[in-house]
Amino acid sequence: MAMQINNLRSLTIAVCFIPLLWVFFDIAFDNLGPNQMQALHIRLGDWALRFLWITLAITPVQTVTKWRGMTDYRQLFGLFAFFYASLHVLAYLAVDQVFAWRIIGIDILESSYIWFGLIAYIIIFSLGITSSKAAKKSLGKSWKKLHRFIYIAAGAAMIHYFWQLKGNLAEPLFYLLIIFMLLGFRAVIWFKNKQLSQMMIPKGRASIDTEAD
């Protein structure tokens, strides 16, 4: 049984690296089109966003399927969101701007869509480096508070996406719809729990653990 779970975990990790191999493949075979730098940004940004959404989908899936033990996968997918977001930032700094700090400074100051990307990345970075069990233990109660910032990161990433487009909104609207569903699910659970705990107040105990985050 343990063997099987380990295999599944290794398989998941391998699958999560496929988008990166795909990017390397497209670079090697010159498949990124006339504006390959832009294509690279979109590709890595898209995967960071997708992994962030998958991470946020774990809790609802766990609640619906009542399948326990998915928390490890939530951490895994979160780390892959961190990984692709880091590549996205690194590609911007090193491959696109080639560390021309003056131009980077102007670009960031004048581009409000980058501010939101930066907010999202700072949060994801903080969550990434505090994702280990040891960090969870040492941070105690504040760990959960800190990791709730993932919702801010999701919102900022969404604005970052919308804000750099001139018009084509079909794809970002798709991501927006998903995040609304994921957050809507949590809102429903939160509301239900609140009702439940209110009903239980007469008994003097309101200890329903809100698993939905």
């Binding site: 670079i27 089109g33 006339p34 504006n35 390959q36 730098m37 832009q38 690279l40 090193a94 491959v95 696109d96 701007q97 080639v98 021309a100 131009i103 102007i106 670009d107 100051l109 004048e110 581009s111 409000s112 869509y113 980058i114 804000w163 750099q164 001139k166 018009g167 084509n168 079909a170």
Partner: protein
Amino acid sequence: IWSAVPKSRFSADALTITPADHAKNYNNYYELAFNKEDPSSLAQSLRIDPWSVEIGGEVEKPGTYQLEDILRQQTLQEYIYRFRCVEAWSMVVPWVGFELGDLLKTAKPLSSAKFVKLTSVQQPEAMPKQRNNAMLEWPYVEGLRIDEAMHPLTILAVGMYGDILPKQNGAPLRLVVPWKYGFKSIKAVVKIELLKRPPISSWNKFAPNEYGFYANVNPDVPHPRWSQNSERPLGSGFFTPRRQTELFNGYGEQVAYLYRDMDLRHFF
């Protein structure tokens, strides 16, 4: 077919021309699609033959002219121009065309003509986004001040890379104003009107705080959501720094006088 066309005195020979395949396969043509990959195939169903252009408004001689007749009157030249998109990518294209001013003169503009309005083709059966009334108001409209329109840098192009203009690049006839952001260079022109008052261009109408009437390339005036300080030339490789954007896209020497008393931040 136009390999023997003489070069314009404004043609910049020192520039590295963007590979033709890039210019033909990375197009903003919002009537067709909102991405840059699909217009090259979708444009092929456009009907461009026969093609006529209506010239009207504040002119002595309004009329509708067949494109062949216009071309018979005009001298074609090659113009190697920088092209800077408002989305911060750029290219260098060898256009084949003639001065817009030369065409306008044939209609004898009245002294009351202060602005020029250009209108794109309306072919909803061939243009999906026109059919769905998506995003912008169709047909696409652009405008210039009369002195901008009469400036010798401003051309109507019928070709590029020594060949006939591809449909996705605005065939059979498009405007090219090299010191302005690319969206000013309206494609598939069917109507040219000389007006007393400034026309409202399509992007200006859609988002007035983001896309001004002038839309002059200016590294010091950012778009409200992104910087215009630098640009990514099409076809440039990884680890190649971005190009520093130039005021008036590098045509300041020729055009800066048109705007000498204007606050370019206000008239963006």
